[in-house]
C-alpha cells in the first residue's frame, strides 16, 4: 500500500508541474496590454510604462516562468489586476462560499443518487426504475444555468417561497450577524447558536445547491444502478440467495457495498464537475464565491487571477483524484496490486 501511495503522490506532483506550465503559457498568449488594464481607461502612457516594468512583463518568457514558479511556491501568486490584492488571498477568501455550495450539493446528491440508483436496480423494469431513469437522464442533460433560472422564477417570483439570490439577507448583518469562524455560514451560525442566521443562510442555499446537484444526482444514480445490476448478477449473490439469505440482507449488505466501489470514481467525477459547474450556478444566484470571481476575471482579462484560478482548480482536481484513488485502493485490494 505504501508503495502505491508514494507512486501516486509522485505522479500527482509531476502533473501539477505540467499544469503550471500550461497555465503560464496560456497567460502569455493574451493579446491585450495588461498594464493598461491595471490602471484604467484614461491612463497616461507613462503610467503604462511604469506598470509594465513593475509587473515584469518586459522579460523573456522562460525567465518569467522561473520567477513565476518561485513566487508560486512561496505563496505569491501575483496581484489581481481587478482588485489589486494578492490572487491567492482573493481565492482563499472566496473559497468558503464555494465550498459550502459544493458541500451542500454533494450532501444532497450522493445520498439521493445512491438511494435512487439502488431502488432502480432493486425494482428493475418497474415504475420506480422508470422514474429514476427519467430523473437521471434529465439530470445529466439539463443546463445548470437554465435550471437555476427556472428555479428562481418558480420559487421566488411565482411561489414566493425562497430568496432570489445571495448567501444571506443583507439585514442580517446588522440584526443577527454571523461570527466568521470557518467562513461556512451554516457552520458558523450553528456554532454561534444563531438560529435566525442559520435559517436564513439555509434558505439561501436551497436553490443553488439543488441546481448544482442535478447533474451529480443523475450521474450517481445511473452509475449506482448499473453497478448494482451488475453486482446483483454475480454468482456469489445468487449463491447467497440459494442459501436462503434474506433478500434485503443480500441486496443492501452484500451487493451494495461492492457495488459502491465504482460509484466512488463517479463521485470524484461529479466533484470535479461541481468545481466548474459552481461557476455558472454562482453567477445565476449572485453567490459571492470563487465562481463569480473567476467569471469576472475571465471577462476582464485579469490574467494573474485567471492563471491562479486555473491552477488552483486543476490542483484541486488532482487532489480529488488522488483521494479517490487512494480510497479505492484502500477499499479494494485489487486496485492496489494493478
Amino acid at each position: 500500500m505504501t508503495r502505491f501511495v508514494v507512486r501516486r503522490l509522485a505522479g500527482s506532483a509531476l502533473v501539477l508541474l505540467g499544469l503550471s506550465v500550461i497555465t503560464f503559457t496560456l497567460a502569455r498568449v493574451i493579446p491585450s496590454n495588461p498594464a493598461a488594464l491595471y490602471i484604467g481607461p484614461k491612463a497616461r502612457p507613462e503610467e503604462i510604462e511604469r506598470v509594465t516594468r513593475q509587473l515584469g512583463l518586459d522579460q523573456a518568457p522562460p525567465v518569467q516562468y522561473l520567477t513565476y514558479m518561485r513566487d508560486m511556491l512561496t505563496g505569491d501568486w501575483g496581484t489581481s489586476i481587478g482588485t489589486k490584492r494578492p490572487v491567492l488571498e482573493e481565492i482563499v477568501s472566496r473559497l468558503p462560499a464555494t465550498l459550502e455550495l459544493i458541500a451542500a450539493a454533494m450532501a444532497l446528491a450522493i445520498p439521493l443518487g445512491i438511494v435512487l440508483g439502488v431502488l432502480s436496480a432493486r425494482w428493475q423494469r418497474r415504475p420506480p426504475d422508470v422514474l429514476v431513469r427519467v430523473v437521471s437522464i434529465v439530470g445529466v442533460s439539463l443546463p445548470a444555468f437554465w435550471l437555476g433560472l427556472l428555479l428562481q422564477v418558480v420559487f421566488f417570483r411565482n411561489l414566493d417561497l425562497l430568496p432570489l439570490s445571495g448567501r444571506v439577507s443583507a439585514d442580517l448583518r446588522f440584526t443577527a450577524p454571523i461570527e466568521p469562524i470557518t467562513g461556512l455560514y451554516l457552520v458558523d451560525a450553528a456554532l454561534g447558536w444563531n438560529w435566525a442566521a442559520f435559517v436564513d443562510a439555509s434558505r439561501h442555499l436551497v436553490l443553488p445547491a439543488l441546481t448544482l446537484a442535478a447533474f451529480p444526482i443523475g450521474l450517481i444514480a445511473r452509475m449506482t444502478r448499473a453497478s448494482m445490476i451488475e453486482t446483483l448478477d454475480q454468482d456469489y449473490i445468487r449463491t447467497a440467495r440459494a442459501y436462503g439469505l434474506r433478500d434485503r440482507f443480500v441486496t443492501y449488505r452484500l451487493a451494495l457495498r461492492n457495488a459502491l466501489l465504482p460509484v466512488l470514481t463517479v463521485v470524484g467525477l461529479t466533484l470535479a464537475y461541481s468545481l466548474t459547474g459552481s461557476f455558472f450556478v454562482e453567477i445565476v444566484f449572485n453567490w459571492p464565491g470563487l465562481g463569480t470571481f473567476a467569471v469576472h476575471s475571465m471577462l476582464n482579462v485579469d490574467y494573474p487571477a485567471i492563471m491562479g484560478i486555473a491552477l488552483f482548480g486543476a490542483a484541486a482536481y488532482v487532489l480529488i483524484n488522488l483521494v479517490v484513488d487512494l480510497a479505492q485502493a484502500w477499499l479494494d485490494p485489487r486496485v492496489r496490486l494493478a
Binding site: 423494469r125 422564477v153 411565482n158 432570489l164
Partner: protein, 559 residues
C-alpha cells in the same frame, strides 16, 4: 439469465418512459408559463402584488443603527484622495469635501459653498481668494486650516491623478489660517476647478504626510476627509461600509440621517436588479436599462430620468480610404438610424446629440445641426463620391463590456447594409479596443464607438479638444483627423473661456458646426441618468455635474 431477459421485457416501460421524458421537458417549460403571472407586454407584477421583496422594510432594529443599503458598480481603484481618478469617486464624495460644490444647471446659484464659505477673483483673473469655513475638523481630529488646503492642492497639482486640472496654478499661499490665495499663470475658472470630483479633495495634512512617507497608507481603507461619512470597513470588490462622522460640521440633528451606508459592489446590473427585487438593497444605482421602464408606473418608486454628461460618439478613420472623402462620411452620417439607436440602444433614454458636446454642458448650443436618417441622400452622396451602391467594407470596433454599444452596434450594421456598405462588428474589451486604435496604423479599425464624458464641466476644453483636435500620437482623437481651422478655433476659444465666456462660446459653436459638416465622427446620443428610488427614501438629489457620485447625507427615510 442475463442478456436476452434484459432486452425483451423493456418495451412496456419504454413506452411509459418515452411518455414521461418529453413530458418532463414540456412540463418544465409549462410550469413556468402556467404559474407566470404576467403575460402583458408591459409587466407590472412588482406593483400589482407587493410581496416581501417588492417593499422591503427600512432596515432598522429598535436598538440598531439606521442603515441604507446601496448596490453600485463602483469599485475602488485607490483610497488615496490625491491619486483618485476613477470610480471610487462615489465614496470619496461622501468622505471628502472640496472647497466648493457646483450646482445642477437648474439651480440659479452656480456653486454651493463647501469648505470655502466665500471666494473672489481679482480683476485680471490671475488671483483667487477663498475664505474657509471655521470650526471644521478632519476625521482624524486635525482642524481645517488654510495650510491644509494649501498642502492638499499642492499634492493634487503635483502627483494627483487629475493633476492637469490645476495646470493654471502658479502658487498657493495661506494668507491667514482661514484664507488661501491662488496665483495663476493665466486666467482660469478656479471655482470650477475647485469643484471637480477628482483632484480637488481637501485632505488632513497629517494623512498627507503619512501618505508621502508610505505610498500604501490609504489603501487599507483609511480616510482623512471632512465629509459626513467615514469608512468603517472595506472588503475589496465586495462592499464598503460607511458610518457617520459625529463631528461633521453640517450636523446630524436637522433631520434623520442614515447612521450607516452599506454599499455592495455589484458589477452586474442584472445582479443589482435581483438585489432590489429580493430586498437585498434599498437603492440600486445601475439597474439594467431594459428593465427600468417598469418602475415608471410603479407607485412605490420615484422614477428619475435626468440628462447626463455622457454621450456616445463614433469615429471614422479619416486617414484611410474611402473614409478620407468627406462625402462618404456625410453619406454614412445620413445612413444612421438615430431614433432606432436611441429606442433600442438606450431603451428610449437618450436624446440625439448635436455634435460631441452633451446638452447642458458648456459650450453646448442648440444651433449646432444634426443629421437625420435619409437613406436616399446617403446613396446619392456615395454615388457622388464615386461609390455608387456602396461596395466597400468597414470594420467597427466597440467595447464588449458596454451594454448599450452591444445593443446598438448591430443597428449600424443593418442600416449600412441598406446602402451597400458591409460592416463587420468586432467587440473587444475597451482597453484592447483603445490599444488597437492607438497602435499600428495598418491594423487600426475603420469605425470606433466610444462612450465619452468630460472630466469636469467644460466640454470645450475636454470633449472638443480631446476628441477632435489633431495630435502627433493619437490619444482620444481616434478619427486621426487633422484640420487646421478646427484646431485654431478650439485653441482660441480655450484661452477666452475664463475671461470672455460668450466669445469663447461663439468660437466653439463655429468649431462644432465645422465638425458636423466635415463629419470625422458620428454623434449618436446624449445618455440620460435613469434610476428608480423607492419612495420610502427621500432626499435624493441628482447633480448632472457629478455623474459618478451619489450623496448619501441628504437621504433620509420618508416621514
Amino acid at each position: 439469465m442475463k442478456g436476452p431477459m434484459k432486452r425483451h421485457a423493456s418495451s412496456q416501460q419504454q413506452r411509459t418512459l418515452s411518455l414521461l421524458l418529453p413530458a418532463t421537458a414540456a412540463v418544465l417549460a409549462l410550469l413556468v408559463a402556467a404559474c407566470s403571472g404576467s403575460t402583458t407586454p408591459a409587466p407590472s407584477s412588482t406593483a400589482a402584488a407587493p410581496n416581501e421583496s417588492a417593499v422591503p422594510t427600512v432596515s432598522a432594529t429598535p436598538s440598531g443603527p439606521l442603515v441604507l443599503k446601496v448596490a453600485a458598480t463602483a469599485n475602488v481603484t485607490t483610497w488615496d484622495p490625491v491619486k483618485s481618478f476613477s470610480t471610487e469617486a462615489l465614496y470619496m464624495a461622501n468622505i471628502y469635501e472640496p472647497l466648493v460644490w457646483i450646482n445642477p444647471p437648474s439651480v440659479p446659484q452656480k456653486f454651493t459653498p463647501a469648505l470655502a464659505v466665500s471666494w473672489e477673483t481679482s480683476a485680471d483673473g490671475l488671483r483667487w481668494t477663498f475664505r474657509l469655513r471655521d470650526g471644521v475638523k478632519f476625521h482624524d481630529g486635525e482642524p481645517l486650516t488654510a495650510d491644509a488646503v494649501k498642502q492638499s492642492i499642492e499634492a493634487a497639482a503635483t502627483r494627483g491623478g487629475a493633476s492637469f486640472i490645476w495646470a493654471a496654478l502658479d502658487t498657493i499661499t495661506a494668507v491667514n489660517p482661514l484664507t488661501v490665495e491662488l496665483k495663476l499663470k493665466y486666467p482660469a475658472p478656479m471655482d470650477l476647478v475647485a469643484s471637480s470630483l477628482y483632484g480637488a479633495w481637501i485632505v488632513s495634512p497629517k494623512a498627507l504626510a503619512a501618505a508621502a512617507a508610505d505610498e500604501k497608507f490609504f489603501e487599507s481603507g483609511i480616510d482623512a476627509g471632512t465629509g459626513p461619512y467615514t469608512i468603517e470597513s472595506y472588503t475589496p470588490d465586495k462592499e464598503v461600509l460607511l458610518t457617520k462622522f459625529d463631528g461633521y460640521w453640517g450636523g446630524w440633528s436637522d433631520t434623520t440621517h442614515y447612521d450607516k451606508v452599506l454599499i455592495s459592489i455589484t458589477p452586474e446590473s442584472v445582479a443589482q436588479q435581483q438585489m432590489l427585487d429580493g430586498g437585498q438593497t434599498d437603492i440600486a444605482l445601475s439597474l439594467p436599462l431594459e428593465n427600468i421602464g417598469q418602475y415608471r408606473t410603479n407607485p412605490d418608486f420615484q422614477f428619475i430620468d435626468e440628462p447626463s454628461f455622457f454621450n456616445y460618439v463614433g469615429f471614422f478613420n479619416t486617414a484611410r480610404k474611402p473614409l478620407d472623402d468627406v462625402r462618404v462620411r456625410q453619406a454614412l452620417s445620413y445612413a444612421i438610424p438615430y431614433d432606432d439607436i436611441i429606442a433600442i440602444g438606450a431603451q428610449g433614454f437618450g436624446t440625439q446629440s448635436r455634435g460631441p458636446v452633451p446638452a447642458g454642458v458648456f459650450p453646448y448650443s442648440p444651433d449646432v445641426p444634426q443629421y437625420r436618417q435619409d437613406l436616399d441622400k446617403a446613396k446619392q452622396l456615395l454615388a457622388d463620391a464615386g461609390y455608387p451602391g456602396g461596395g466597400f467594407k468597414l470594420e467597427l470596433t466597440y467595447a464588449s463590456e458596454n451594454q448599450n454599444e452591444t445593443r446598438f452596434a448591430p443597428l449600424i450594421k443593418e442600416a449600412y447594409a441598406k446602402i451597400g456598405v458591409d460592416v463587420t462588428l468586432t467587440p473587444m474589451l475597451f482597453n484592447q479596443q483603445w490599444e488597437r486604435a492607438k497602435g499600428d496604423p495598418v491594423k487600426r479599425q475603420d469605425m470606433f464607438l466610444v462612450l465619452y464624458w468630460p472630466t469636469y464641466s467644460d466640454a470645450g476644453a475636454d470633449n472638443l479638444w480631446s476628441l477632435f483636435h489633431s495630435s502627433e500620437k493619437p490619444f482620444f482623437n481616434l478619427s486621426y483627423w487633422k484640420n487646421e481651422q478646427y484646431d485654431k478655433l478650439v485653441d482660441d476659444a480655450a484661452t477666452l473661456t475664463a475671461t470672455q465666456r460668450d466669445a469663447a462660446q461663439a468660437k466653439y459653436v463655429e468649431a462644432m458646426k465645422l465638425l458636423v459638416d466635415q463629419a470625422p465622427g458620428l454623434f449618436f446620443y446624449d445618455t440620460k441618468f435613469v434610476t428608480a428610488i423607492p419612495k420610502r427614501i427621500a432626499g435624493f438629489q441628482y447633480n448632472l455635474n457629478y455623474p459618478f457620485a451619489q450623496f448619501f447625507y441628504p437621504l433620509h427615510p420618508a416621514n
